[in-house]
Symmetry: C2
Subunit: 349 residues, 2 copies
Amino acid sequence: MITLAVDCMGGDHGPRVTLAACRQFLGNHPDARLLLVGLADSLHDFSHDRATIVPATEVVTMDDPVEVALRRKKDSSMRVAIQQVKDGTAAAAVSAGNTGALMAIARYLLKTLDGIDRPAIATQLPNNEGRATTVLDLGANVDCSAEHLLQFAVMGSALVSALRDGGEPTVGLLNIGEEIIKGSEVIKKAGELLRSAAEAGDLNFYGNVEGNDIFKGTVDIVVCDGFVGNVALKASEGVAAMVIGGLKNEFSRNIFTKAAAIIAYPVLKALMTRMDYRRYNGAALLGLRGLVFKSHGSADAMAFEQALNRAYDAARNNLLDRVRTRIAHAAPLLAPADAQPRPAAATTH
Amino acid sequence: MITLAVDCMGGDHGPRVTLAACRQFLGNHPDARLLLVGLADSLHDFSHDRATIVPATEVVTMDDPVEVALRRKKDSSMRVAIQQVKDGTAAAAVSAGNTGALMAIARYLLKTLDGIDRPAIATQLPNNEGRATTVLDLGANVDCSAEHLLQFAVMGSALVSALRDGGEPTVGLLNIGEEIIKGSEVIKKAGELLRSAAEAGDLNFYGNVEGNDIFKGTVDIVVCDGFVGNVALKASEGVAAMVIGGLKNEFSRNIFTKAAAIIAYPVLKALMTRMDYRRYNGAALLGLRGLVFKSHGSADAMAFEQALNRAYDAARNNLLDRVRTRIAHAAPLLAPADAQPRPAAATTH
């Protein structure tokens, strides 16, 4: 039996979406239990023999400053959900709420793993190979040292090997050129660290990759600082939206294009499905002493269910132990990079 | 009469593409003259009453290190083309060659304008509004100070007002959230500088924007450091390629989808044309005492002609004077940010 704690209040739509996703998820996972955390009034209608309602009296809003979420709302659904993981009553927590708040609370309650001084946000993006590319960090750290980037590479490798079977995943360092001499001093140093880690057998380092390699599927994991990762993610969401939107516009232009749309529909549908960002929803907060997954704030029920699936798979495949083991193995290279890590600063919703 | 110097040897295809584009360009611009720079053997076939061949004995290759291009190949077509601008025989130079080399040579020969300590690469990307968003820097500077970002904003505003008529272009600061408190220390400080510049009437500052805003068309100009800009550009090229490629795959799957493709073709064609990156080819190297434009290395004749058009428009609209005037006006805010600017480090081809 695997138990997940769900922050039912988070996200742009709250319980309307999260509860629908939970019901769907329970239907598809007979060995799963859910702890539904939120305002009692919002959840009391929901009943399922494998769901328990855990009341919370407060809700972290999308624009609550981190300090407010962390210090003033001590009984928020987000915090209570993460507390379940700390108490061991849940194997993982899932929230579609404010990213900065989620990272700060998760970090405050769960603490980071030995050898990790900054947690990272890792998500999956669709690629040309029909597989997914895992990218981290996506906004937890606005600027990183070379050591942080190495820590991300090690944690990302653990995540990918936990979520899929077979083969040591390949890691690429996001840069502005493939050549070793390219990039800032931090990036060059990170390249050296990653090469040493590869030689030590801690990870499968491919080398530098560029922005387009994320979608080419050149490597399984792309490592970058949170600022760059966040911009790359949102820029690519922007292009996808522009192309899909353009497609809709062109097809709805007149009676003829509309006719063409009807005939082309099955084909376009197949494409949309393949490109659908919702299928890849569910970012992992890595480097903590517990599993926390972040859903896109605008997620619909289908997308939120994907985040639940991801948390379920990670828990079932002992992601936490895998990360611990890898970090322990890479310990000699993972010297803490700074004394005072920065808290989460980015929005990924 | 406007004269452009063309590095005919640059790019993945060299004269085959550049000369075809030049012929097309001359046909469309009766008041333009071209100085065709390159190896005599490669150019001798080309003849046009408004084209003059300027021989060069060397060629900078795509993987020549900057030092080699700068110090060892003193008679390269790239360098000779830029020399024409320095000598005043050409109003602008255009090359599809190695970006790092082009920036280094342009900087060495032309020098930067007073008040600018780092030139920037500015390019246009298609947006939802059917207009273009100008993004800079795209790879000339791997990491920037707040002052550099302000310089980019001022130069970008001059570029956009030179290339289009009417209205003071809006400037957005690329960040990981819209809120003022978001981002690194450099970004926050840049935000303050940009606000002061707006109050002083030096530019029209919108505020922070995120990666997707580039394609939403939220602002006319998006300012970021060269590392972030280069990653965002390539990531978005990657997504566009993935979606377009996916579309082709889905339509060529079987006889039925192929039939659908024939019917949907005009619609898809319209979309492709709107999204076509080639239409936006031609990046400006800003901040130098002369106009230099960079074409995508893989440009075909149509795309290279766009770069020529852009250089022509910039020259005709006195981009250089506009940049000078704006910089002079913003001088009080444009304190040099560092003594030793870094050379170009990114590939944009």
